[in-house]
Amino acid sequence: MITLSTVDLSLAAGLVLAMAALSWRMQLGLSGQLLIAGTRTVVQLLLIGLVLKALFANVDLLWVTGISLVMLLAAGREVMARQQRRFTGWWGFGMGTGAMFISSFAITVLALTTMVATDPWYDPQYAVPLLGMLLGNTMSGIALALDRLTTTAWQQRAIIEQRLMLGATRLDAIAEIRREAMRSGMMPIINSMAAAGLVSLPGMMTGQILAGSPPLEAVKYQILIMFLISAGTGFGVTAALWLASKRLFDDRHRLRLDKLTGPRS
């Protein structure tokens, strides 16, 4: 494996700086964001590198659980931040976080105990990256699906209420909107499974190959990961949408948009 020197990374950073300069010249208004995001990448990844190094050095279930929870909370915050209209109060955070916890954690533990079968099962070298990939993808799916559900419900409130007036149950009244939300949450992972290997070489597989793994071993891992991600995203989105569409109504099947916050400015 060829290790990268500081000079190598500086060259790559130079490319980003050049792009920022170009953006500044063209008045795209992107240079600031680009530089901040670039800096964040360096700092955040270096920090997680140090954390992983420490974690690998002393394998301890408590530490693995701790970092898993930090990752979960960060993902939950991200889901909340991506909503145009989120649920008021604790639900705004709890809904997405709860759905991610159920699906990502269950699937990671299942994969670690049966498919990858590491020893001990919580070996951080496998547990943390696996959970990270699952959380990251489930997070995107849930954020998209919830946003779609709540904004569409808001726009189509008159139609939903018309259907309630005609005697529809809350589940019937929002069935199509929920189906659309489910589709938009699942689309990214379905697309990337369909395009895998043809259009793009998945990042994890590329990484393993760069690190010197035999290509077929890397491919097997990538297939495993993609299946886990699609199942995890599917279960997570289903759970989040189930909770959210129940929460949009009360027990008398009334549409309660007052449980959503106003649009984010």
Binding site: I159, Q162, R163, G167
Partner: protein, 207 residues
């Protein structure tokens, strides 16, 4: 005692209903009776109808044939206590997809025929939507009709056709009707009794 008697006789009985900071409103309608309701714009006529149909949170009691609403599930209640809103909504491409059955006996009296079921919703006029919305809600065979200006966008002939159909349905099925109308002549024409709504209550008036 008199009140109890009255409640027992009523098809719809609303007791101390409060919604969106308005009320308390009380009213009762006998089976087969049509009551007109008027009030300044913004006095809360539509909100009152929405609360009776259980679409908004509220305080107070509503009874259907002396049975409390809490005894019904919300969808059951709304099928029996039907609200026809001022503006109807259509979410499928074809008219027929909004009806629970292919055959609708109310199309013909409203000037439509069986072919109407295959019409595109996007090509309906507002008057056609209003009449079709009435046909659609009658498919649920409601016991109570809450009508929010059901003839607002209709020409004279169709106003009369709608009034006639509602009267026939009401008499055939002993349905109680609460009819919001801006038109004093219409209110006098269709109503057995007349109610005026203010922000703090309801009073009866004679024409």
């Amino acid at each position: 005692m008199v009140e109890l008697e009255e409640a027992h006789m009523s098809a719809l009985n609303v007791i101390d209903l409060r919604t969106h900071g308005r009320g308390p409103y009380s009213l009762c309608i006998a089976p087969g009776e049509c009551v007109s309701l008027r009030g300044d714009s913004g006095s809360g006529k539509s909100l009152l109808l929405r609360a009776i149909a259980d679409l908004d949170p509220h305080d107070g009691q509503v009874l259907l044939d002396a049975i409390s609403r809490t005894q019904f599930t919300a969808p059951q209640w709304r099928k029996q206590v039907a609200l026809l809103p001022a503006e109807s909504q259509w979410w499928q491409d074809e008219v027929g997809a909004h009806f629970p059955a292919e055959k609708c006996p109310w199309l013909e009296p409203l000037g439509f025929d069986a072919e109407t079921m295959r019409w595109q919703v996007s090509r309906l006029s507002s008057g056609e939507k209003q009449r079709l919305a009435l046909a659609r809600i009658l498919m649920n065979k409601p016991r109570i009709l809450l009508l929010d200006e059901p003839t607002a966008s209709l020409d004279n002939d169709n106003v009369l056709a709608v009034e006639k159909l509602i009267e026939k349905y009401r008499c055939d099925t002993a349905t109680a009707v609460l009819w919001v109308s801006h038109d004093a002549q219409q209110a006098a024409r269709v109503g057995d009794r007349h109610l005026q709504l203010t922000t703090d209550g309801i009073r009866e008036y004679t024409t």
